[in-house]
């Protein structure tokens, strides 16, 4: 600002403007003055816009770039989630771990129920003998035996509790399986392309040298009964169960003149299998080499 600049008050400005507007020359001066000031303002605005940094003003290209990057991140997260869900469902549905777990628990319930029934039957038979003993006037002995059998009967009530608890766990596992299958259906995991290999479905590591042979109790129809094990021990062949098609065949003797047939799915169960053929002495001896 100029050091000796004169300032006009509002009333002085209006009086001078009125005086100029009262004459033709005065009005021409005001028109020319306004035009010249408008040009100066436009030039000044253009100069300011030219000098402003481009990045200070987000344009549509920048916003699209941000959206594109965000969408890429979301797509990568979705692909990873689908890969994780895919890993929940092993390729071989026959080996579904949740289904296997529920089958094991069902087998537990069945086995405990059967064992409990056997125990109860034995206890009841003992009670019939106590009646006979009582008739022979060994009342104290009879009472003691009856008390013990009553304890057995009461103890067998464990099966009811374990059965209920096991059934609850089975129901939870089935619910989890349903939710997992629902997620798999939603995500359509079979359509995943280029999502990378599924995560390995590894369980707890077992470092025992024969861990590969430790399968545990088999479900009904999936393991050998004692009779067939006796035949195997005696050097006879037995048909391989359909559940063992991936296992080593029962070709238990080098030099055997009889080959063991590998049972296909749906083959007759062991009870109706063909008569086992004995191995010759050389084949049996090879088992002990």
């Amino acid at each position: 600002m100029e050091p000796n600049r004169v300032m006009l008050s509002d009333s002085e400005y209006l009086d001078m403007e009125e005086e100029l507007l009262s004459t033709p020359k005065g009005r021409a001066f005001l028109r020319e003055h306004a035009n010249r000031n408008r040009v100066i303002a436009l030039d000044k605005a253009r100069e300011i816009l030219h000098e402003m940094p481009r990045v200070a003003v987000p344009n549509s290209d920048t916003r699209l770039e941000v959206v594109r990057v965000e969408l890429q991140d979301m797509a990568a997260s979705i692909a990873e989630a689908r890969r994780q869900i895919n890993a929940l469902q092993p390729q071989d549905t026959g080996n579904n771990r949740i289904l296997a777990a529920t089958e094991e628990l069902d087998a537990i319930v069945f086995a405990t129920e059967r064992a409990t029934s056997d125990i109860l039957n034995a206890a009841e038979r003992i009670q019939t003998y106590t009646g006979k003993i009582r008739e022979a006037s060994l009342v104290d002995v009879a009472n003691d035996i009856e008390n013990l059998t009553t304890e057995i009967l009461i103890a067998c009530s464990f099966q009811d509790i374990t059965g209920q608890r096991t059934t609850k766990v089975v129901n939870v596992l089935r619910y989890i399986e349903q939710r997992v299958n629902a997620m798999v259906a939603i995500w359509g995991t079979e359509q995943i392309h280029g999502a990378g290999d599924p995560l390995p479905m590894t369980g707890p590591s077992d470092k025992r040298p024969d861990a590969h042979l430790l399968h545990g109790p088999q479900l009904p129809g999936q393991g050998h009964a004692q009779d067939d094990i006796d035949r195997l021990m005696g050097g006879f062949n037995v048909p391989v169960l359909s559940a063992e098609t991936g296992s080593a065949p029962a070709d238990i003797g080098a030099g055997s003149h009889v080959e063991v047939k590998t049972a296909k799915t749906g083959d007759a169960p062991l009870a109706t299998a063909a008569q086992p053929v004995p191995l010759d002495q050389g084949a049996i001896d090879s088992l002990f080499d």
Binding site: R208, D210, L287
Partner: protein, 125 residues
């Protein structure tokens, strides 16, 4: 009454108790127990056992590993060894037989089966 010291090996105390009771019913009176293969091997090497009845799935040493150790030990290799296990696949029986097991009982079993398998190994009594 058979004058044989028996070693019962199983990681489940209930199963050891059941087998002990069955052996007692059969007529055995000298019965010891071990909860896994390592403990069994220690007891066997102390000497005096005429029969081993062992489970398979135990930790840290399985019954199959115990069997192999027994058969590899010059002082123990002739001790009769019966596997009593829930493992019932063909490959299990073959592996046990190739390792030198004398007989193989699949769980669940009864007293009659146990007696017959023992008799087949140590002779009738």
């Amino acid at each position: 009454m058979p004058a044989v010291r028996v070693l019962v090996v199983d990681d489940y105390a209930t199963m050891r108790r059941i087998i002990r009771n069955l052996l007692t019913q059969i007529g055995f009176s000298d019965i010891e127990e071990a909860a896994d293969g390592s403990e069994a091997l220690t007891k066997l090497r102390a000497g005096g056992f005429g029969l081993v009845i062992s489970d398979w799935n135990m930790e840290p040493m399985t019954g199959l590993q115990l069997l192999k150790e027994v058969r590899a030990d010059a002082r123990l290799k002739t001790v009769p060894f019966i596997m009593v296990t829930a493992e019932s696949k063909t490959e299990n029986v073959v592996a046990a037989k190739e390792a030198g097991v004398n007989n193989y009982i699949v769980k669940p079993f009864n007293a009659d089966t146990l007696k017959k398998k023992i008799e087949s190994v140590i002779g009738q009594f």
